[in-house]
């Protein structure tokens, strides 16, 4: 019987230095943060991170894990500029900056196993003056010059879902699935953390089919991680933790601040994290944010 259950550390052990890793979710929503914290505790280094950026980016950058960042934005939404990301960027972290939609096309190209997809996006901007970009001429009568968005193949994609079974059948129950399916299709291997690991019938797939991110053949490993997206949201299970995001952002103010944050919330380990943030009851009761 197929069994893809793993621990967070098992997943980390599947990764290696220098890999290109895609992290799912969007800004402060449904990021696999428990897994990101496990990455911070590991010896992994020189990663290329591909992300619709939230606190995953700042944490990995602050811990010195990144060699390169592929991004279109990094935002904590209510605190729009993440000081950890800013510090890394201003110290010269190597980046490829994309348009959000171009990002989607790069993942789609990797998923399709084609080297690029053509678009108008980027014409007239500095985005396409980055060395990674080429243009391509339409072979049809229009002869139009277009931007060739390079494929963004991933060695691994790390995603957070609401429900999964041991075989890797997954559900993301939040109202916006973002681009996690494309991340999965662009990756050689996909590892998910899940709020709840359940027997297959409890997925109630007949009624939840629209929340089924992708087929299980894409999924290599599943780790149960309750509140594993915290401090980002995993609605409808829980909302983002604005107070914690502020603590995280404030920890960039000094080296001591970061050391303290790291000790309290990262090095404490996954088993004690929930206590460190005030317990399950507090997270479950977080109010819906105002946009």
């Amino acid at each position: 019987m197929l069994d893809k259950r793993m621990t967070l550390d098992d997943i980390v052990d599947q990764l290696s230095d220098g890999m290109t890793i895609g992290i799912g979710g969007w800004a402060t929503r449904r990021k696999p943060m428990a897994l990101v914290r496990a990455l911070l505790r590991s010896r992994l280094k020189d990663l290329t991170l591909v992300s619709y950026g939230g606190p995953d980016v700042g944490l990995l950058a602050a811990a010195g894990k990144l060699r390169r960042l592929v991004f279109a934005f990094v935002s904590l939404d209510h605190y729009p500029l993440d000081p950890h990301f800013r510090a890394a960027r201003q110290e010269g972290l190597d980046v490829l900056e994309l348009d959000e939609g171009m990002f989607h096309l790069g993942l789609r190209a990797a998923a399709m196993r084609v080297p690029f997809l053509p678009t108008h996006i980027g014409i007239g901007t500095d985005i396409i003056r980055q060395p990674a970009f080429r243009t391509v001429r339409s072979p049809y009568e229009d002869g139009e010059e277009l931007v060739a968005v390079p494929a963004l193949p991933l060695d691994a994609a790390l995603l957070h879902v609401h429900r999964a079974d041991a075989l890797g059948n997954v559900l993301t129950l939040s109202p916006d699935p973002f681009f996690d399916e494309l991340m999965a299709r662009a990756a050689k291997r996909v590892f998910v953390t899940t709020e709840k690991l359940v027997p297959t019938p409890e997925l109630d797939m007949a009624n939840n089919a629209r929340f089924n991110l992708c087929e299980r053949a894409l999924i290599s490993g599943v780790a149960e991680a309750p509140f594993g997206a915290h401090p980002t949201s995993a609605t409808p299970d829980y909302q983002l933790d604005l107070g914690h995001l502020k603590t995280y952002a404030d920890s960039a103010a000094s080296p001591e601040g970061w050391v303290d944050y790291r000790a309290r919330f990262i090095d404490v380990g996954a088993d004690h994290y929930l206590d460190a943030i005030g317990g399950a009851g507090r997270v479950a009761a977080l109010p819906k944010p105002v946009y």
Binding site: G53, D99, I123, G124
Partner: protein, 269 residues
């Protein structure tokens, strides 16, 4: 067009909302995206008055039947009329059926804007958000702009530090003509309403806010503005519009945008 005789006092924020709403007047049935409280309220005002066909979202991923007020939720949840996850936002915008009003950090004489970095891209003096969806938005659907501080640091000489959205700059065209969807509409600031109606899409002052002079706008702009023979005064909000704005913004978020919530008519300030 003019209602300047009306004595009802109004704030600068309310003047901006009313002026910015005009940008969606003739759009028909498109997605209206206003980034930040004043553009968002402007889209709401346009939708509840002269263009009810506009579609607006709750700021997350649902279209609502009526605009959602900025700030804390009201007692009555909005009626959801459609779904707008990010994947669909891109699909929709590539088709052109959207008009956004955004708030960049810098703009240059071509209408190119920047929200990515101040300084050098490889090692910025100040890293900001990143280009977000600006590159794609700018070449697929109409765009308008709001600037809360009209200064020569926002309207810069030369080009912006990192061009995130395309403008009318022939040196950057790929096919010898402007990108096919490029359509820059209105710029609303704390001083004036501007557009791209000058020669070769040059930026011109369309109307001056009451009490602001052309020279004041020019002195706060890092490039020469096209000057019309007669420059209008920005129309004051009508009493009806002011009443509607109060309904659309029950939390009075508009009061927090400009420091001290100044009066809209600076002749009386």
């Amino acid at each position: 067009m003019t209602d300047t005789s009306r004595p009802t006092p109004y704030s600068l924020a309310e003047l901006v909302i009313t002026a910015a709403a005009e940008t969606w007047r003739h759009d028909g049935e498109v997605m209206a995206t206003g980034i930040g409280p004043l553009p968002r309220l402007a889209a709401a005002l346009a939708k509840t008055t002269f263009n009810p066909a506009l579609q607006t979202t709750d700021g997350e991923c649902f279209y609502t039947a009526s605009p959602v007020p900025p700030g804390p939720a009201t007692d009555t949840p909005p009626v959801i009329e459609g779904w707008s996850p990010y994947d669909r936002v891109f699909s929709a915008l590539w088709g052109g059926k959207r008009h956004a009003m955004v708030a960049p950090v810098q703009m240059d004489r071509f209408g190119q804007t920047n929200i990515s970095v101040i300084g050098d891209h490889a090692r910025p003096k100040a890293a900001m958000l990143g280009a977000r969806g600006f590159p794609g938005n700018s070449v697929h659907h109409p765009n308008s702009f709001f600037f809360a501080n009209h200064t020569s640091r926002t309207f810069v000489a030369g080009e912006v530090d990192f061009v995130c959205s395309a403008g009318y700059n022939p040196a950057r065209y790929l096919n010898g003509q402007p990108p096919r969807g490029l359509d820059l509409r209105l710029i609303v600031t704390d001083l004036a309403v501007l557009d791209f109606g000058g020669p070769g899409h040059a930026i011109q002052v369309r109307s001056l806010h009451p009490g602001v002079s052309f020279d004041q706008v020019q002195d706060n702009t890092g490039f020469p503005l096209h000057r019309l023979e007669h420059v209008a005064t920005t129309s004051a909000p009508t009493a009806e519009q002011l009443a509607l704005i109060r309904q659309l913004d029950p939390n009075n978020v508009r009061r927090t945008v400009f420091k001290g919530d100044p009066a809209g008519d600076r002749r009386t300030a």
